[in-house]
């Protein structure tokens, strides 16, 4: 059966992007990893080895947990897939979801870990790395990723079984990550990579096996939210938001648990990033990252929330109503701004507690970059963005348009000089102009769903 799950995923992406596109993303990774690894000695001069390894392994773990959660809590609602049609197949639900886990583990290993390994191997002539080091590092990466996948898989029956237990799980995860960052608790794959200790290797496999077993055992026979009768809340939302489409979107967000689901794809990596930046500042002995640059970086993560919004609903019934695809895209954008304001604004205020005079600028930069990235994503990808990563045209355009202005904004806030202020003002003007153009073009481009 696994073969069919793999074929289904391949055809899904190949139907949206072109077949050859599927190799483009791994090529990007090979290229960037090879370049980065060639400068590894320079990187390790300013970044202590242990912190570098911890950052890499923990980020990979969180990434694995994020994509797995996105798959199990989000994409399983897509119609007509093997998982949603399991009830008509001679297949147990437990097995079906286990195949889904294996499918993603194989896909993401092929798309991320394998290209990383190839990139590292290609860098051998230009760096001080040897094959054994690369294989050990790759093994640590794979284990970190698999702990994340398995935890995402395990969190899925918890989410469907009892929401309070799920929130408890997320809280424990958050506390654990903080304790790992402050070296109070170990993260076994990072320990293995640093110490080359076989016991750490053994301890790295334990959570994978444990989460897998628990996930398999706890997966229910039938996946269905407990159906309860619900009062008409849409009227209440309509009174608040006035706009019926936005009211419906916010009801979907609340009932679909999007704010909670986005915690681990937005809030967790963001928290991790801030703590590590603090560590970098301490290592270098200079506060290069200030509240302004952090606000810009915060906005980069916020684009993830848009992808959650695009998978909440099936569009087919919407096509029967007097609605354009662009109406739905624009309402996703409105909901996105409401959500990021709820989640991010308190963080920006916290960042500026010691520098209240910078708060308006932090907010302006945060909303500027969020607006720019979101309008860009929405214009390029439209109402469905799950296959964005596999379309080379989309990746290329997104990379070109997003990385350069973002970097100028971040670097421009490192120093107070006439040059940096001019660079930030010019970049901000460019971003506002492009955002306006993209906003106008969304309406023209996205007519059909």
């Amino acid at each position: 059966m696994l073969k069919y799950y793999l074929i289904e995923e391949y055809r899904k992406h190949a139907s949206i992007a072109k077949k050859y596109s599927l190799i483009v993303f791994p090529i990007y990774i090979i290229f960037f990893v090879a370049i980065g690894a060639s400068f590894i000695n320079d990187i390790l001069l300013i970044f202590p080895y242990q912190q570098f390894i911890l950052l890499t392994m923990l980020s990979t773990f969180i990434y694995g947990f994020g994509v797995s959660s996105f798959e199990f809590l989000g994409r399983v609602n897509e119609r007509g897939t093997l998982v949603t049609l399991t009830f008509i197949l001679p297949l147990k639900m437990k097995k079906s979801y286990f195949y889904l886990y294996l499918r993603d583990a194989i896909y993401y290993t092929l798309f991320f870990i394998l290209p990383t390994m190839i990139g590292l191997i290609l860098s051998i002539p230009f760096s001080t790395l040897n094959l054994l080091q690369i294989l050990t590092f790759s093994l640590s990466l794979i284990i970190s990723m698999f702990i994340g996948y398995s935890l995402g898989y395990f969190s899925f029956p918890i989410w469907y079984g009892n929401r309070k237990t799920y929130y408890l799980l997320i809280t424990i995860l958050l506390i654990y990550i903080i304790l790992v960052i402050f070296s109070i608790l170990p993260f076994p794959p990072a320990e293995f990579q640093i110490e080359k200790d076989p016991i750490s290797l053994l301890f790295s496999f334990l959570p994978i096996i444990l989460f897998l077993l628990l996930a398999y055992i706890l997966t229910p026979r039938e996946i269905r939210d407990v159906s309860k009768e619900k009062e008409n809340s849409l009227k209440k939302y309509k009174r608040i938001f006035k706009d019926i489409l936005l009211s419906k979107e916010m009801e979907d967000v609340i009932r679909g648990g999007i704010i909670v689901k986005s915690l681990f794809t937005y809030f967790l990596p963001m928290l991790l990033l801030f703590i590590f930046i603090k560590i970098i500042n301490m290592s270098i002995g200079k506060e290069v990252y200030n509240p302004l640059s952090l606000s810009v970086m915060l906005s980069i993560f916020s684009a993830v929330i848009y992808s959650w919004l695009t998978i909440m609903e099936d569009f087919e019934y919407m096509q029967t109503l007097p609605l354009r695809a662009s109406d739905v895209v624009l309402v996703h954008i409105k909901a996105y701004f409401i959500i990021i304001t709820i989640i991010s604004l308190p963080i920006i205020i916290l960042l500026n507690l010691q520098t209240p005079s910078l708060l308006p600028f932090s907010m302006a930069l945060f909303y500027l970059n969020s607006t720019y990235l979101l309008f860009l994503t929405a214009y390029i990808a439209g109402p469905k963005i799950t296959s964005l990563l596999f379309n080379p045209g989309i990746i290329l355009r997104f990379s070109l348009y997003s990385i350069v202005p973002g970097m100028i904004l971040v670097i421009g806030t490192f120093e107070k000089s006439i040059y940096s202020i001019t660079a930030v003002i010019l970049t901000a003007t460019f971003m506002l102009l492009v955002s306006y153009i993209n906003f106008r073009r969304i309406k023209k481009k996205w007519i059909y769903f």
């Binding site: 019926i244 009801e251 679909g256 609903e313 099936d314 029967t320 609605l323």
Partner: protein, 226 residues
């Protein structure tokens, strides 16, 4: 009410509609019969502005290729698959459509009663049975009293009792001067309800039948001759 001239549609290199011509008058119940993959759903999607096509198309005087939203304002559509919102209740979904179409709130209550959905009003749409989802979609298509109704296999999941009441509702609706365009596999249903039947094969209308007494035989004959 519906005029189609030389309509073509490609999905990549696959041509699904080939120089299709059709005319449906006001007040008609026009049936579209054809096997799977003949182009029935694609034709409905073009007529209701859900996808593009090449050719001349008018629905109630509106060009759905240029004004896709306008045609959906005057039309009611029941799609082929039972697609409903994931998180709204039955009542909320109808309220959502009523607001979107600028209807009075009373229209929700009327629709719930008319299509026997009162007992399901607080249920989340995606948790409904297939048949009840189909009923909800039919209700959603009727709620704004459209001038033209597009139905894609509307009876497929309905129980016989409900089939009968929907059939009666459609006949009453057409008798008030409204138009119905219905794609179906069920020859018996087309015979009972339609004023004319078009037969579609490989993206072309191969015949339009007015005498429906021997529809099954006519359908098979036309199909074999084409």
């Amino acid at each position: 009410m519906i005029i189609v001239k030389n309509l073509n549609k490609w999905y990549g290199s696959n041509q699904v509609l080939k120089d299709l011509n059709l005319k449906v008058d006001r007040g008609e119940i026009f049936g579209l019969l054809g096997p799977n993959g003949a182009g029935k759903t694609t034709l409905i999607k073009i007529l209701t502005g859900q996808t593009e096509g090449q050719g001349y198309v008018r629905v109630g005087g509106i060009d759905p290729l240029k004004e896709p939203i306008k045609v959906r304002e005057i039309a009611g559509i029941v799609p082929e698959s039972e697609s409903v919102p994931n998180y709204l209740t039955v009542e909320e979904y109808l309220y959502f459509i009523a607001e979107l179409r600028n209807l009075e709130e009373k229209s929700v209550e009327r629709a719930l009663k008319k299509f026997s959905l009162v007992e399901y009003r607080k249920n989340v749409c995606r948790d409904l049975s297939k048949g009840t989802k189909q009923r909800l979609m039919i209700t959603a298509a009727f709620i704004h009293k459209p001038k033209i109704l597009f139905l894609d296999e509307p009876f497929i999941n309905l129980d016989p009792l409900y089939q009968k009441s929907v059939r009666e509702e459609i006949l009453k609706y057409a008798s008030e001067g409204n138009t119905v365009f219905m794609a179906t596999h069920i020859i018996e249903m087309a015979k009972k309800m339609c004023t004319r039947v078009g037969i579609i094969k490989d993206g072309r209308i191969i015949a339009v039948l007015e005498d429906l007494k021997n529809l099954e035989e006519e359908f098979l004959r036309e199909f074999e001759n084409a």
